[in-house]
Amino acid sequence: MSENKTIRINNLPVPTWNHLKINDAEYETMASKEELFDQLKKIAVKPENQLPVVHDEVIEEATEGLDFEFTINTDSTIILRLLNKCEEKSDDSKKDIIVKINANIKEGLTLNLSIVNLTKGARIYVTSDALCNENSALRMTTISLGSSKAYFEGKAELKGDNSMFDSYTAYILNSGQFLDMNYVADHKGKNTEAEIVSSGVLNKGTEKVSRQTVNFISGCAGSKGAESEEVLLLDDDVISKSAPLILCTEEDVEGEHGASIGQPDIDVIFYLKSRGIAIEKIYEMLSFAKIEAALSRIDHEETSEMVRNYLGINN
């Protein structure tokens, strides 16, 4: 008989003080990590042209999770949308969905990978590993609006010279939602570049954990890596945890990190209020702006509509 187990996911590449509880995330399950991944439905994706490949995963009773294998032989756009079976009535609060992605991006090619979480109460865990060969790029955009608990992990191995990882995550958390993120760029090739951005809003009773790592490995001369985080805190009972790491064993690199956590800029608030906009509306505008920035990167009208409908922007 299966017993409850706690597996550890979203590990920081280098641990820090245990009392901060940020070295990894605990994930309650009935199996080991390997067993969990073995149970996933395997899907091989080989885009043949530049048209977007859209995969909708609808949370149902017997959701078994997905194990994607992306082989990128042409510039590609892949959009993965996690949705509810019936948006208004379905209760998915007891459902789990795990998505595992492996991508091999061949020389000189770009993969635009977008993950959009529009579930309701389900718990989701999305983990992706990408190998970037010479002159290739992974452009990753994540929007997380749903789930009681959501775990995202994105790792890029910048193995080839001049390869690139550009990750942007936007989120709005409401009413007790929990979001745990871990993004890692391993710079191995020369002149590689990474930019990891996280931008979101915490409302009542929510918690967010953000881990970002730029890892310059000896030999990656000429590489650059940047991390940034912007978090708007709109209620008092919120928790924002951040661990932005820069690891470096190469001299000829540039790495930087910037974070801004707190309430909206008082000058912005003052200006908008002076134009007659109510404070609640201002907060809503600032929140939606973060999601719109992500949608403009995805550049897919149907997905944009879906997200706006979810947020009630079009109503």
Binding site: V14, P15, T16, W17, N18, L20, I22, N23, L202, F216, S218, G219, A221, V231, L233, L234, D235, D236, D237, V238, I239, S240, K241, S242, A243, P244, L245, I246, L247, C248, T249, E250, E251, D252, V253, E254, G255, E256, H257, G258, A259, S260, I261, G262, Q263
Partner: protein
């Protein structure tokens, strides 16, 4: 092909001399219950302290080694000498200090510094304080500066010490805090009464002379409402092949509207495991200023912690770490915002070279009640070659919306453009790079007392010039 500037390790030869200790002075190696009782008896501890040591020993045995920092597996606790009997009781005049001990401190320039720029000096040699002196005019203001053991036996201060000793850093904090609680010896007690401003700094200097020894001094400073103190601590040891251990403990209590500046220039030898703990509790509108220069040690774990407990209290941490061959220095700071309108600022610089490892580790915690709090962290790292390592591991944990938190970190190397520009202004490449490194450290060195800033800049500049390879 690019030319490389080679920067030598900081020259520690001025610190690298020793006088042989007598074997009969060594009370014992390792750590056991009998030895703890023997130390307690030797030092004439009150009963509560003997029991405290025994409780700490139990905690030490139950507590795991840290699993997150540099490896300390090669530190063999069974070989470390935990207590060395003093060569003489504490003196108040340099002339009365035993000749070899006196020579040690004279070579380190301590008596000269006392004459020229200090209000008072304490000097610890191995396990015990051997000299303490305080200027008469400062003493008249009611300032107390003595060794902790003397203060503990003085009925005026014994209760104060019992109330504060290891309350900020309890033995349960981590394994080496427990070790400290069991075997601590020496260190300083400073008390500054309400309203007293000590204009000239006090300094303690810790010297570990013996091979394979541990130093476990405890510094307890309590400054009253509206007072001011600048306390400087320095440390060094001769170089041995066997590992030495420093597991000191610093507890600082900063009263309402008081300011305490705590400066440390740490230059232990490269066989030292520096596992030191420092923590300050700051009351309403009080301020703690940490200035920290870490140059020595084989392994360091050092994170001065500020607990901002009173409304409007603040902390500033300014640090520089220079890590060379064989060094793995894990340094940084922690701040806990525990009251409204508290502010914290961290500004650090680190330089890694010749295979040295630097880790900047920090934590900023803003509790729900700390509304209106602000924190800013800025850390910059300079890599001088590709066989070294520099990691930045900051964590922020924010639990109120009414906080303003900023963080920035940068890592890189000496810019070719800056070197080129300076060379067009007539500087040689060596001078240009030396100037850039000094400039990189400048906003830290300017916070040091002038004599330390000059020494630090000289150490860096002198080692760079003439070393292009």
């Amino acid at each position: 092909m690019k030319e490389k500037t080679y920067i030598e390790d900081i020259d520690e030869s001025i610190y690298d001399f020793r006088f042989k200790e007598d074997e009969e002075d060594v009370l014992g190696r390792g750590i056991g219950s009998d030895l703890i009782d023997e130390i307690s008896k030797e030092k004439g501890d009150p009963e509560w302290m003997r029991q405290f040591r025994q409780r700490s020993l139990e905690i030490f045995h139950k507590t795991h080694m840290p699993n997150w920092g540099p490896s300390i597996e090669s530190l063999d606790m069974d070989r470390i000498i935990t207590y060395i009997r003093p060569k003489a009781r504490m003196k108040n005049k340099w002339e009365d200090v035993p000749e070899d001990v006196k020579q040690t401190f004279e070579r380190l320039g301590i008596p000269q510094a006392e004459r020229e720029s200090l209000s008072g000096v304490g000097a610890q040699y191995d396990s015990e304080i051997v000299y303490h002196n305080l200027r008469a005019e400062v003493e008249k203001q009611g300032v107390v500066y003595t060794d902790l053991e003397t203060a503990m036996r003085d009925e005026k201060y014994s209760e104060m010490i019992k109330k504060h000793f290891m309350k900020l850093i309890p033995p349960t904090d981590h394994k080496f805090a427990a070790l400290h609680g069991a075997v601590w010896s020496g260190g300083s007690f400073v008390y500054v009464p309400e309203g007293v401003k000590v204009e000239i700094p006090l300094q303690s200097y810790f010297r570990l002379n013996a091979e394979s020894a541990g130093q476990f001094e405890h510094t307890l400073i309590i400054i009253g409402k509206n007072s001011y103190l600048h306390f400087i601590e320095g440390c060094s040891a001769p170089k041995y092949y066997a590992a030495s251990l420093h597991a000191g403990c610093v507890e600082l209590y900063v009263g309402e509207n008081a300011t305490l500046r705590y400066s440390t220039i740490e230059n232990w030898s490269k066989n030292m495991y520096n596992l030191n703990s420092k923590r300050a509790l700051v009351e309403k509108a009080g301020k703690i200023e940490w200035i920290s220069g870490s140059f020595g040690s084989h392994i360091s774990y050092l994170y001065p912690t500020s607990v901002l407990n009173g409304e409007g209290s603040s902390s500033e941490f300014t640090g520089i770490t220079f890590s060379g061959n064989g060094q793995d220095l894990d340094t940084g700071a922690k701040v806990i915002h525990n009251a409204p309108n508290t502010t914290s600022y961290m500004n650090t610089r680190s330089i890694s070279k010749s295979g040295g490892v630097n880790t900047f580790r920090s934590e900023v915690i803003v509790k729900p009640q700390a509304k209106g709090s602000k924190s800013s962290v800025s850390c910059a790292s300079l890599m001088l070659d590709s066989i070294s390592r520099s990691d930045t591991i900051p964590v922020m944990d924010i639990r109120t919306k009414d906080a303003d938190i900023g963080h920035e970190a940068k890592i890189g190397r000496i810019s070719d453009e800056a070197v080129f520009y300076l060379m067009t202004r007539g500087l040689s490449e060596e001078e240009a790079k030396a100037l850039i490194v000094s400039g990189f450290c400048e906003n830290v060195s300017k916070e040091l007392p002038v004599e330390y800033a000059v020494e630090m800049n000289n150490l860096i500049r002198m080692e760079m010039v003439g070393s292009i390879g």
